[in-house]
Symmetry: C2
Subunit: 248 residues, 2 copies
DNA sequence: GGGCTGGGTTGATCGGTATCAATGCCTGAC
DNA sequence: GTCAGGCATTGATACCGATCAACCCAGCCC
């Protein structure tokens, strides 16, 4: 079968149509800085890939040759200590841009925690593109600032919040992560294991499990499945997460 | 007295000479993106100020109207919980640029911990300057990436390191902060109190004090004064900070 | 001088979370 | 079907760092 016969119009007559056109993450990602008519240039330097679960595609200390944009699925970003202690610095979902926090080598590792689709840009090429489209650089700076604010919030969590406050904060951020622009959600999915939640919150598996059990017993949440939770008392969780319920 | 008579040459004949020319922090700060001949434009929008100790000049949640560049002294950046718990997210010294991690409101507070000199830029004006000098925006993006990497390292510290590892990491970062480009230093100054060190490391005053006493007793450091320390066994501290001495 | 205050150190005890351990549940292999 | 392995939950106990408390010291005011 001749592939050109199947989609002749798209491939031969509409040069602005590209894989980036169809990207569900485009409007929310850094790529939104690129106008529709210039999208072909972005698409030209992007390599689209699909990764199965548990694939490490960025390794801390390796030469930072590429940037990545997640278009589907979730990855964890983490750092390791020599004896195996792990700190997950963030979870990245669709629209998330990876590779910012780098000089010449990656400052963290990244691993898929479920099947993931992403597109890859080589550093020199993206740099050239930034030169042609200054709006892209502005957008990246915005992104970096947002990540910085998130990181500072996480430092507050890791340095000063109790286990219960950490888990409450996590559940709320997860609920909102799914629908960034919409109304507050009361139901959420946890694509990561308890161990990964623990490594993100600076706790142990057992403590995370116990806190969730306690929330459930107290009627603050409902466990639909191990990876599916409904927030039955969102206001209470918000108070706890903000540090207003030290006695509770 | 007529001011123009006091410094006539500077003000009337040498338009390129400005306060930014004399700034000791210029070569290491974001301002290094500006060429010497364009420095006057930078100086024109900068307001130089001197602040005494313990002055809060950025308050979390306030409208983010300005950026700051520290030229002398040290400030602490921090976030608070309603009950007074504090997490210091960083200490900023000469050359450090503040205000990156913002949307429309500041994401953190800033307070001087010793007398400080800084220069202030209004957001709209700096934005305009970025438009004229794209190199400035590139430099800011670099800065943001570095801060992001630092923040991730701090998350690893807060989430997974022991008290001794945290203090060792802190001492080493302090030793290098003073001479960013030079050889590894063995002597360092601590302009902050024990309480501020504790709030930075996610510990208490007592724990910080005890760990320092222990390091001293074990001969790993020498206390020259409460705010002055010599690292007598830097290699050992580096191993501890990196997580290689779990048994020690 | 005396008293006061803020910062630092050190000791005794407490408690929140880690650690160790057992069990249950689900899924995939065969 | 059975078995094995990974993940989650729950209980018993241990321990690191927090808390409570006492004391020291230097600087400052009077």
């Amino acid at each position: 079968m001749n592939f050109a016969q199947v989609r002749p119009v798209v491939l031969t007559e509409d040069h602005t149509h590209s894989a980036c056109d169809d990207c569900g993450a485009r409007t929310i990602s850094v790529c939104s800085a690129i106008e529709d008519r210039d999208l072909a240039q972005l698409s030209a330097i992007a390599v689209h890939r699909t990764l199965e679960k548990s694939r490490v595609f960025i390794e801390e200390g390796e030469a930072a040759s590429d940037f990545f944009n997640i278009t589907a699925g979730t990855v964890k970003l983490f750092k390791l200590l020599p004896d195996g202690r792990q700190q997950i610095t963030g979870f990245a979902g669709p629209g998330h841009f990876l590779g910012l926090a780098v000089a010449d080598t990656y400052a963290f590792s990244a691993e898929t925690i479920e099947p993931v689709r992403l597109c890859r840009f080589s550093r020199p090429r993206l740099r050239a593109l930034m030169h042609d489209f200054p709006a892209l650089e502005t957008r990246l700076l915005q992104t970096a600032c947002n990540e910085l604010a998130t990181a500072q919030e996480q430092m507050l969590l890791l340095g000063r919040k109790t286990a219960r406050e950490r888990v409450a904060s996590f559940l709320l951020s997860r609920a909102d992560a799914a629908h960034p622009c919409g109304h507050p959600q009361t139901e959420l999915r946890l694509p990561m294991t308890r161990g990964e939640i623990a490594d993100y919150l600076g706790l142990t598996i057992e403590t995370v499990s116990r806190v969730l059990s306690r929330f459930h017993a107290d009627g603050q949440i409902t466990r639909i499945a191990t990876d599916r939770i409904r927030l039955t008392n969102r206001a209470w969780l918000e108070n706890l997460a903000a540090g207003n319920l030290t006695g509770a």
